[in-house]
């Protein structure tokens, strides 16, 4: 298998280590003489290789900056940089290992029972934190990894490429089904790769699998989750550093779980010494890596499992000092490494202890999918039963070929402080026994109190022994004790694989690059980029730029991109009915060619969104929503349409249309040469709408006035966006037109007291307190929010949204507190410096009794208290005369 000429060099703790192709990091380090791979979590005990299958916590290291990497299943690559974790100064000499000598001071739950004085705990906690944890987090400037997501379907997914999985895959494929075979090992074959079983003809099976055309093999990939609807989460690790780690979402008609069984350790004092290994781990080292991990071995186990292992070890050249039954083991002895096994009647010198441990059906996927795990005393294992629909299991995961003789539940009397059940958190059988005596006698509370099964091994090494200890200590059966809940992901998955490629979309309006050329300063609004204001080439401040844009609109003409508004096209005989039902206002009586303001309220009368509704024809409406609420409004309308049989067809035109608002005293003059539409007030009054050509594009024009000037909101095909924008700007040149951004718009509308839903209102605002009591039409047929609005209409509101103007030159921030008599009384929702008023103005929530002309309030301005005066009317053109000009 290995070719000595073909050598790979990696780096371990700064020193070069030579590896062979096919080596894992752990096998290469072991061959180079490394025996201690980790230090344990709590006591910092030495730990060596145990499972060689990526299932235990004993080989976690930092590989190329990634913490907690299972080195025993990570294939070597030239130039890899491997370092140890959680030991200082070195794995061989770790000063924190002194902790284990004070273990009597740290019985189970010691941290709950001590430091109950908060001052003591607050002093102690930083030290506790410092010594906890495993791997070192990468530094914040570390390069981010390469990840991607893929989506696949197949008739049948087979999880596990051992003999049972291979046979199932072949049979399904031969029956004409599209099959995906997932196996977590670099090569197919499962335990046949390192054990000798006469019946199996591995090469034939593998060859067959590879010839079937309707078979897809994902080897070296693991399945971590079997979710609702047979959605499988599968991770395909990267093969070389430039590769992406890929998360495959596989939907399968049927799932066949063939994950086999794994081995977990036996319980005896010092069962964690370096040199105490699982038999499958030893066989993997021998047969997969050509490493004989010792000279003299003691094998602990029961017949009939132990005989083939002994034969195999002998053949490999190991001397077998003794074969002992698990219950006769008194303890393992050794300082740095295991040197002896003490049994009831002898001591056996050795340098390797081989545990023929419990065989545990690897039923994690089945368990999380809803299967029950039922204790089977005959097999000495929890066997999956009641499998969910379209999920089946084959092979050892079903308990096939397991027998109790080989897999005794743990018996250990008396409990020992050094017989480790949980290797991840150093929980001994004594700890478990104590916890149970304290009352944590349910397996779920025992788990949470001792943290057994909650570490990186996810319970693989410790769950069965823990259940055994719990059952024995509580005089319950294994069946009564049961297992803890199975949860995905199992095995664990990296955050990077779950997140996939970084994909956080940015939406740009069709005129984005016009704004960019004009010096836009950007503002994020949901996914959209909008112009906050346009920077001046002279380097004027934001305030000056905004004021120039403001003056352009008030005195001449301005143009703003409003393409981000939600735009819905509604057609059908019953659109009026739907709008009457969904909006608080009435729209069924809206005449074609007219536009009306609309507010959506929920069942409690709370304002959810606002926008315009224009009737283009009897059966054709055009509706706008706020930028952020489009998806919601669309869902809301569709939701209320369900089951009505109404003749309504809704098309979302948001991306298909661009939109601008042209506003200012000269707006009409600018637009006139660009359109065939008669723009005179007689022909096109305020709140009217028309379909007409604008700069060569078919457009919907609405005469509305959010900013308080004569103006048109024009919607037209997105592809004409830049052309129309340029044409309008060109036509406006002689009027000194300026593009204006969100900041100027917010200021302009504030002077008009126009509110922005979601800015000035919040998730509990109703129209009456927002000063929009005219919106709900309570005399129409039933609509959403009617009963709540009818009640609210008769109740005096507690608070009201009111305009205010500052007495002095202060500018409060949005969100500043309103105080009355030193008490918190409300808040500012929006405040801006008004060039028209020469002072800051704004909208604020104040107690209803204060919302009257001239009332004095205090506003907190950066921690100071400043005075302001409430005004009832809008600051600018309160009668709206300018809108109608």
């Amino acid at each position: 298998m290995s070719c000595p000429k073909d050598k790979i060099t990696l780096e371990f703790n700064g020193k070069p280590v030579t590896a062979r192709p096919g080596d894992t990091v752990a096998s290469a380090l072991y061959r180079s003489g490394q025996r201690i791979f980790t230090r344990s979590f709590k006591y910092h005990r030495r730990r060596g290789l145990l499972c060689l299958a990526g299932k235990c916590p004993n080989c976690l290291m930092n590989v190329d900056g990634a913490p907690n990497v299972r080195t025993c299943i990570t294939l070597v690559r030239a130039g890899m940089r491997v370092t140890h974790q959680n030991a200082s100064p070195s794995l061989e000499n770790d000063w924190l290992s002194v902790v284990q000598h004070f273990d009597r001071l740290m019985p189970v739950g010691w941290y709950y029972k001590t430091m109950t004085d908060p001052r003591v705990w607050h002093t102690a906690e930083p030290f506790v934190r410092k010594i906890a944890g495993l791997g070192t987090p990468p530094s914040p400037d570390a390069v981010s990894g390469n990840y991607e997501h893929a989506y696949r379907h197949s008739d049948v997914a087979i999880i596990g490429g051992g003999p049972a999985g291979l046979k199932a895959a072949i049979s399904e494929a031969e029956n004409g089904r599209q099959v995906t075979l997932v196996d977590d090992q670099p090569e197919l074959g499962g335990h046949l790769r390192y054990t000798k079983i006469a019946e199996a003809a591995l090469p034939e099976l593998v060859a067959k699998v590879q010839t079937l055309p309707n078979m897809q093999v994902l080897n070296g990939s693991y399945c971590f989750g079997l979710y609702e609807g047979n959605l499988l989460g599968i991770v395909q690790p990267r093969r070389d550093p430039d590769d992406a780690e890929r998360l495959i979402h596989l939907r399968a008609g049927r799932v066949v779980v063939a994950t086999g069984a794994y081995e977990s350790p036996l319980l005896f004092p010092n069962n964690d010494l370096v040199g105490v290994m699982l038999s499958t781990g030893v066989l993997r080292l021998i047969h997969l890596h050509g490493i004989i991990p010792g000279k003299v071995a003691v094998v602990i186990g029961q017949s009939p499992l132990v005989e083939p292992v002994v034969a195999d070890l002998r053949e490999a050249g190991l001397q077998i000092a003794a074969t002992v039954a698990p219950k006769s083991v008194v303890r393992a002895i050794g300082k740095k490494y295991v040197t002896r096994i003490e049994t009831r009647d002898a001591r056996h010198a050795c340098d390797l202890v081989v545990m023929c441990g419990h065989r545990i059906p690897d039923a994690g996927l089945l368990h999380q999918a809803g299967a029950r795990l039922e204790w089977n005393a005959g097999k000495g294992a929890f066997i999956p039963t009641d499998l969910p629909a379209h999920v089946s299991a084959v092979g050892q995961v079903t308990g096939e070929s397991l027998s109790a003789a080989a897999t005794l539940p743990p018996v250990l009397d008396p409990a020992s402080k050094r017989a480790f059940v949980c290797l991840c958190s150093d929980v001994s059988s004594q700890d478990l026994a104590n916890a149970i005596d304290e009352g944590f006698d349910h397996i779920e509370t025992l788990k949470r109190y001792t943290t057994t099964t909650m570490g990186p091994c996810q319970g693989r090494m410790c769950q069965l022994p823990a259940i055994g200890v719990c059952a024995r200590q509580t005089n319950h059966s294994m069946a009564e004790t049961g297992v803890t809940t199975g949860r995905p992901p199992n095995p664990g998955v990296t955050l990077g694989a779950l997140a996939g490629a970084r994909h956080h979309p940015t939406r740009r309006t069709p005129m984005h690059y016009e704004h960019e050329a004009a010096g836009a300063a950007w503002l994020d609004m949901g996914e959209w980029k909008r112009s906050r204001y346009y920077q001046s080439p002279m380097g004027a401040s934001e305030k000056q730029c905004v004021e120039q844009e403001y003056r352009a609109v008030r005195e001449r003409v301005g143009l703003i991109d409003v393409s981000t508004l939600g735009k819905l096209d509604l057609k059908g005989r019953d659109v009026g009915r739907l709008l009457d039902h969904v909006y608080a206002g009435r729209f069924s009586d809206l005449r074609p060619g007219r536009t009306r303001y609309g507010v959506i309220c929920d069942e409690a009368g709370i304002m959810l969104d606002d926008g315009t509704v224009s009737r283009l024809a009897d059966d054709h409406f055009f509706v706008t929503t706020t930028t952020g609420n489009l998806d919601f409004v669309l869902q809301w309308m569709n939701w209320w349409l369900v089951g009505t049989n109404w003749d309504v067809y809704i098309t979302n035109l948001t991306s298909g249309l661009a939109a601008v608002n042209l506003a200012g005293p000269n707006a009409r003059e600018v637009l006139k040469p660009l359109t065939d539409c008669d723009l005179s007030t007689a022909a096109f009054p305020y709140m009217a709408c028309r379909v007409a050509q604008v700069a060569g594009a078919e457009a919907i024009l609405m005469r509305i006035g959010f900013v308080g000037e004569t103006g048109w909101e024009i919607h037209f095909p997105a592809e004409s966006g830049p052309d129309v924008w340029k044409a309008v700007m060109e036509a406006g040149r002689k009027f000194d037109i300026k593009p204006f951004g969100i900041e100027a718009q917010r200021l302009l509308r504030l002077e008009k007291r126009h509110i922005i839903v979601g800015v000035d209102s919040d998730a509990l605002t109703n129209p009456f307190e927002a000063g929009m009591g005219w919106v709900p039409k309570l005399d129409k047929e039933d609509f959403i929010g009617r009963s709540a609005l009818a009640r609210l209409a008769t109740q005096p509101p507690k608070q009201k949204l009111a305009c205010f103007i500052m007495n002095e030159a202060d500018l409060p921030e949005d969100g500043a507190a309103i105080m009355i008599g030193g008490q918190l009384a409300g808040r500012v929702t929006s405040a801006r410096f008004s060039p028209g008023q020469g002072k800051a103005i704004g909208l604020a929530w104040v107690p209803a009794e204060t919302a009257r002309e001239g009332a004095e309030v205090q506003v907190r301005v950066r921690g100071r208290v400043a005075r302001a005066r409430i005004t009832e009317k809008a600051f600018y053109d309160p009668d709206g005369a300018r809108l109608r000009m």
Partner: protein, 404 residues
Amino acid sequence: MLKLFKKERMWQRPELKRRYDLVIVGAGVHGLATAYYLGSQHGYRNIALVDKGYLGNGSSGRNTAIIRSNYRTPEGILCYDASVKLYENLSRELEWNLLFSQCGHLTLGHTDASVTGLRIRAENNQALGIDSRIIYPDEIRRLVPAMDLSSRPRFPVLAALYHPPGGIIRHDAVVWGLARACDRMGIGIHPHTTVTGMRVENGSVQSVVTNRGEIVTSAVLNATAGWASTIGKMAGVSMPIVSHPLQACVTEPLKPFLNKVIVSATLHVYVNQTDKGELVIGAEIDPYQSYSMRATLPTLEQMATYTLELFPQLHGLRVLRQWTGVCDMTPDYAPIIGTAQEVKNFFMDVGWGTYGFKAAPIAGKCTAALIATGKAPKLIEPFSPARFAAGQLVGEKAAAAVST
């Protein structure tokens, strides 16, 4: 120190009697805290706490254990502040270290609108004496050096609401500590006891039917969070509650690098690092109603995506478990505490949604006072069940930590 070596049972296995003064349905933190304060402050003893699962199986053991009082409304602020203060002293009171780490809590603002929302909270908090203020990237960087504060993320961090007394606690320890204290007062805790019905006559509950027999009782407290409306239904009490799943996950342990609770409403995620070194990550509530506690892949992916927006260097860190709790959501995201209008001896402490764990001590204390005296303490008056019919909702929805 001697306590350390004394082997004591935390609780006994009491007989389930046939008659009680009060049956508390749900032995999570709310039920336990109510029993604890009824026992310690009002002398009640004849109480049964029944729960369908093991101790702490519900939301008490599924939340992300964040404690804070930087809410938006005066009602919320005062209530949660009282809760934080009770938590601060609870380890000492229960003689059981709840591992309350007042490490500080940051709510990030990534957009102008969210910063305004944070400012509203800061202003309201300060007006009511809560340590809470807006801080900007320079100071955020000092507090959380591991976080990405560059302009690289799609939504860079603009500011944060910093709340130094906020932090995390060991949620299971709260359950165990309260359970032990109740047990020591002689209040019976009965896990694995499922309520299947209630006998109501003349507008009052006569008895509670369980899988272990019928229990005659003078009063019932519903403290079942996600299942609140189903228990209410058994007594003929309706409440405007819908149940939504809420998912969270935990990673492998790392050496400490983050000792602040980080919340981002824009990214719908919250993250903290436990004393053991694991990262605990929570999501917003799932958008659909369900009682299912089966975890889903899309939500896990969302949690990972947003965590990496804040801490991109953690891409190689493995998630070990994801789990789901069920939240009892009300229309205004504020709880319902009080007596049912339909059934006079049916008390409720429900509707806490995603905030239940934080509020447990104060909710328990006030509910205990309500049960013992028949009068709701001022602090919980705004949360009366009658508010929905009267249209007097509380404004907490606007500040839901992970809700837009």
